[in-house]
Symmetry: C2
Subunit: 215 residues, 2 copies
């Protein structure tokens, strides 16, 4: 059974924004049981973990003599080996993988830039003046995505690993108010969150947070 790593005490307080959520969701979609090893922030930067993850983050994936890091790579590895996350047709499969990369390389960076500023620059003199610019950078991507999704349920045909990655990336905007400006994207995220596999993954990471915060 593969083992992944996750935060012992998630900084999002159980909202499921940490990147282990993507891997948990992928396991649930394909019906693959998995183990979780919890890590403190201090342990993530120790040599034992750095040997598995050069950047000292979560999640990692260990299965026999294979160790992987990067949530995108782990989800792709799971999707390539079991049914449920990638189409059988070769062209549709390549396009689903393109959407995984789009989620991580095109949509997520301005979202992370915004959330990092909200976390770490709130007390800076420039925060109020810079915030609209950061919002606009996210709005550009949401507008393009909205035009693409339009009335479709998923990004390209049936639900795929591309949707899984995109929904987890967009969920990071939950507290920003920006999703309210794009009802079709908010509905898309809600469709993802309504999947039984998402719910099981969400509940599993929430249980970790609740156990850690129990007095």
């Amino acid at each position: 059974m593969p083992t992944i790593t996750a935060f012992e005490n998630s900084p999002d307080r159980g909202k499921g924004h940490a990147r282990d959520m993507r891997v948990r969701w992928a396991f649930e979609e394909v019906g693959q049981p998995y183990d979780v090893r919890l890590l403190s922030f201090a342990a993530m930067k120790q040599p034992a973990h750095l040997a598995l993850h050069p950047f000292g983050q979560i999640p990692t994936y260990e299965d026999g003599d294979l160790t992987l890091f990067e949530s995108g790579a782990i989800v792709l590895h799971i999707a390539e080996r079991q049914d449920g996350l990638l189409p059988k047709d070769a062209n549709a499969r390549a396009r689903a993988i393109a959407w995984m990369f789009a989620a991580l390389a095109t949509v997520e960076p301005p979202i992370v830039e915004l959330t990092m500023a909200m976390l770490f620059e709130r007390d800076k003199g420039w925060y109020a003046e810079r915030l609209p610019m950061l919002h606009d950078r996210v709005r550009v991507r949401l507008g393009e995505l909205s035009r693409h999704i339009s009335e479709a349920d998923w990004l390209d045909g049936a639900f795929s690993a591309g949707d899984l990655m995109m929904v987890t990336v967009l969920r990071r905007l939950n507290t920003s108010g920006l999703l309210d400006e794009f009802p079709d994207i908010a509905a898309y995220v809600a469709r993802g969150e309504a999947r039984p596999a998402f719910r099981r993954a969400f509940d599993a990471q929430l249980a970790v947070f609740n156990a850690a915060s129990r007095p």
Copy 2:
């Protein structure tokens, strides 16, 4: 023969920092001839191109009835179909793909954040105070990468698509001075740039820029 899109007039003035460089390099490594269709900035945002690339960027990849976008997805597609960019061993292959994701999702975002600030916030009152913070975010990643590479030639065994992506991401720091602080990373980038396939790809994109800037 596949066709990719690239800037008609590259904003980096032929330095090869645009994302078509990754795809050109991948084609050269596997020995695959390709065609290029050049686009103006205006054309990239027109419906004809948005039908190929929902975010209105370059590069795209067209081959028969398959259209792809996202440089990571295109390089992976090329690497999966022809020898030279992914190891044969299944575990080594998965790890090479993990490095592709690491380049795009973990190393590139703070580099893009820095270069965007250098391009668009230089005249802002906060620029001088914020710049050291942006430099430090990049330094964290370079330090982690440096500790991993150490004395090795490439990220994990032989040169792979993971190195191709990482070198193109790191090259964006060429004008920042940060690579000088990490001589092992500067040497790693230089090893990538010295590959004959890199040189051919670089010269091809430079020829486009020189043709466009001829009076």
